[in-house]
């Protein structure tokens, strides 16, 4: 079965600094990969997705992610973080032939210091 690992529970960056959130997945074939963001008390908003094709995908709010098959990774990046980016970020994999569900990582809480 597929699984997702987000190694960093918390990350703190200074406003204006670059950001990279790590995500590793376990799945035999090329999965569908997603990054969602959850602001406090809010729902899950899709930042970006990878289905196939160009391994560097652009999302909303200036985020991008790169799919690296050799490393089973799908890391999220942003060149310059804004205070409003403080939130929890979830990487997810699916759907696959195992079913239509999404499997989420544990999430990374991003704190932005001014």
């Amino acid at each position: 079965a597929q699984s997702v690992t987000q190694p960093d529970i918390h990350i703190t960056v200074s406003e204006g600094a670059s950001l990279e959130l790590r995500c590793n997945y376990s799945y035999g074939a090329t999965p569908y990969l997603f990054w969602y963001v959850q602001s406090p008390g809010q729902g899950l908003q899709l930042l970006l997705k990878y289905f196939s094709g160009d391994t560097l995908v652009q999302g909303i709010k200036g985020f991008e992610a790169e799919f690296k098959r050799s490393q089973s990774s799908f890391n999220l990046r942003k060149p310059s973080v804004h205070w409003s980016d403080a939130a929890e970020y979830f990487c997810a994999v699916g759907p696959t032939e195992y079913g239509n569900k999404l499997v989420f990582g544990a999430g990374t809480i991003l704190r932005v210091k001014s």
Binding site: F34, Q42, A92, P95, N100, K101, L102, G105
Partner: protein, 113 residues
């Protein structure tokens, strides 16, 4: 922009009571889902629903849970006899086709006391 809407945003219920969480998926979507997130934990899949029947469910989705699409627009999750451990944020999601991205609602925070 079309969105998934969930009601209520917050529900408090006594242990043993039945609750129904409501969702209105995006209108042209065919696949519907419920997920939950216990405070401080990861988002977990509960159930998926397509063509008026459950297509997949997790171990969490036991006999206390049921889903229904009572009309052309609503999608509900019923918990028959709530337990303290059912306290969580419940997210509804929908997707247009089988292998397309899911759009999530804002969630219903269920508190069982």
């Amino acid at each position: 922009e079309p969105e998934v809407t969930q009601t209520p945003s917050h529900q408090v219920t006594q242990m043993g009571q039945e609750v129904i969480l409501r969702c209105v998926p995006i209108s042209n979507h065919l696949y519907f889902y419920w997920y939950r997130q216990i405070l401080g934990q990861k988002v977990e899949f509960l159930v998926s629903f397509y063509n008026n029947e459950i297509s997949e469910k997790s171990e969490i989705f036991d006999d206390q849970f049921s889903v229904e699409r009572p009309d052309g627009s609503n999608f509900t999750l019923k918990i028959r006899s709530t337990k303290l451990e059912d306290s969580a944020m419940y997210f509804c999601a929908s997707s247009e086709l089988e292998n397309t991205e899911a759009f999530f609602g804002q969630g219903t925070r269920l508190t069982v006391v």
